[in-house]
């Protein structure tokens, strides 16, 4: 049972995130995914290789991280940017409650705007199948890990979106395709590894086994959340210029 402060933080976060016009932005990438999948299905009803390619390379590797980036960096980052976080932090609510509540909301929204559309696209492409189930599971797990990382980044820096984009573009898209060791520290690879454990589809290009993906994913999630809590506990306001 969630405590009253945890529910209050979650409710404030949900209203702040969904109330902004940004909520419309959340819907664009999943809409594109579902539409593209529907178009491909109409154009290539018989070919078997495109669903895993589009849903893996676009769904898991682009739509999921982008949605998580926008949501994960805004649930706390927006309040830090405009200063309203002071009203939340000038209360005896444990900082762990603040971080975990916001992380839970961000994860829930990412599941709604990225994992559910991924499932929907999987069902459109292949009907009820191992691929659709695997992609959904991978996207849910990815939502958890990505949001832990992006919430942490939003506490560490005021340029969270830029730093998050750099991570996605340079680390995940570029380096992890060139340097094999980098894949062990790639959230995208954790998602693909988990997805592939169910889907068993070579076209997903999963480079990590399920055990490595699960252990590393859990470690990264816990480490990111612990660091976020520690940094928020030492949250400082800037004073007047001297």
């Amino acid at each position: 049972m969630l405590s009253v402060p945890a529910r209050t933080v979650a409710s404030l976060t949900l209203r702040a995130t969904m109330g902004r016009r940004r909520a419309l932005v959340f819907m664009i990438p999943p809409l594109i995914l579902v539409l593209v999948t529907a178009l491909l299905k109409a154009a290539n009803p018989e070919r078997a290789d495109w669903p895993s390619l589009i849903l893996g390379s676009f769904g898991l590797a682009v739509v999921l991280p982008l949605t998580a980036l926008i949501i994960g960096t805004s649930v706390l980052g927006a309040e830090i940017d405009d200063g309203s976080v002071v009203h939340l932090l000038a209360t005896p609510v444990p900082r762990s409650t603040v971080i975990l509540s916001k992380f839970a909301v961000a994860t829930g929204l990412t599941v709604l705007f990225a994992a559910v559309p991924e499932l929907l696209a999987g069902l459109i492409a292949t009907g009820p199948s191992r691929l659709a189930a695997g992609l959904f599971l991978g996207a849910v797990v990815g939502s958890v890990i990505y949001n832990a990382v992006f919430v942490m980044i939003s506490v560490l820096t005021t340029r969270a979106i830029a730093v998050g984009l750099l991570y996605l573009l340079v680390w995940e898209s570029l380096l992890s395709n060139v340097v094999s060791g980098v894949r062990v520290l790639s959230v995208s690879q954790y998602s693909l590894g988990i997805a592939n454990s169910v889907a068993r589809d070579a076209n997903l290009n999963a480079h990590l086994g399920v055990a490595t993906a699960a252990i590393m994913g859990a470690l990264v999630t816990v480490a990111a959340l612990v660091l976020a809590i520690r940094r928020l506990s030492a949250f400082s306001l800037k004073g007047d210029a001297v």
């Binding site: 209203r15 009203h87 000038a90 209360t91």
Partner: protein
């Protein structure tokens, strides 16, 4: 009752010293932190409220360190200067959410009571986004008061308020102080502090420049040396007459007129009119040249 204690507290950012070795105690009643913009008042309030770590020294509120100690907010309320509030909430929702964050047993009632104190009941169901700056300020005070704190810190609380709201807020702070709470507010406006607080702490360039009873400090301020620019029908003759007066410490003639340094504001102001009349000189202009708050503060630092 909780008191705020600072012992040799300093705070610096790299090479810049924002707060320099401040030792002070603030107890029940209203205390004004007075100082020019950029003097370090906000930094000091952030230090007290646990939103900044002292680089050196000890700082306690009710005997407990405030840095990295969220429990301090059970007895402390903060009204920050930045106007950012959860603008998508109504005033009532905002104050009630704050009550819930404090885990108050009856958040609805606590919110209602607090909103009534700041006289915002009529606007409580409107979104904060539609509030004026003064209304936002008052709803922030309601949120800070919702858990009935012993210590209330307010950063420039009168900014953006119209005169009626200002008077109401002053009365409110006075009442809260009279109830035995420790109320500390910052301001760069002398008259606000004068009207409200018996005790003031004057902060200049990160240092505690003066501390204590407002009236004593006000006397010090008005009896300090002043520089006036005087223009008359015969500057040279008036200059000769002025230099013989004990209240005048220096006279200089320049292209603009006579620059007179007076050791005592009050005495000089009284004497100048009689002196010009006595010598048949027509007084055309009398301008104080250093009436900026900064010069008042600079004098306090030097003395």
């Amino acid at each position: 009752m909780s008191s705020i204690e600072l012992r040799s507290v300093s705070r610096w950012y790299g090479n810049v010293v924002a707060i320099n070795d401040i030792t002070m105690t603030m107890g029940p009643g209203v205390t004004g932190l007075l100082g020019p913009n950029g003097a370090g008042k906000t930094t000091l309030l952030h230090l007290i409220s646990g939103f900044l770590e002292p680089s050196r020294g000890e700082l306690t509120v009710g005997g407990a360190a405030s840095w990295r100690n969220p429990d301090i907010y059970r007895t402390l309320g903060l009204v920050p200067e930045r106007p950012a509030v959860y603008a998508f909430l109504t005033g009532l929702e905002f104050v009630r959410a704050t009550a819930r964050l404090h885990k108050l047993p009856d958040p609805d009632r606590a919110a209602e009571r607090s909103i009534a104190i700041v006289e915002m009941a009529a606007a409580q169901d409107r979104k904060i986004a539609t509030y004026s700056k003064g209304m936002r300020q008052r709803i922030k005070v309601a949120a800070a008061l919702v858990h009935d704190p012993e210590v209330l810190l307010l950063d420039e609380p009168f900014n953006g308020m119209d005169p009626r709201q200002r008077l109401h807020m002053m009365d409110l702070l006075e009442t809260l102080g009279d109830e035995g709470r420790t109320i500390v507010f910052s301001s760069h406006i002398l008259e606000e502090v004068e009207r409200l607080s018996g005790t003031i702490q004057v902060i200049v360039a990160g240092r505690l420049a003066a501390s204590g009873d407002f009236r004593a400090i006000r006397r010090l301020m008005t009896s300090r040396p002043h520089v006036f620019l005087v223009r008359t029908s015969d500057d040279r003759r008036l200059g000769a007459a002025l230099i013989g007066r004990p209240a005048v410490t220096g006279v200089e003639m320049n292209t603009r007129g006579l620059q007179v340094k007076a050791s005592d504001y009050g005495t000089f102001s009284r004497e100048i009119a009689g002196l010009t009349r006595e010598h048949g000189i027509q007084l055309r202009e009398l301008l104080p040249e250093d009436e900026s708050l900064e010069s008042v503060f600079a004098y306090l630092v030097e003395n």
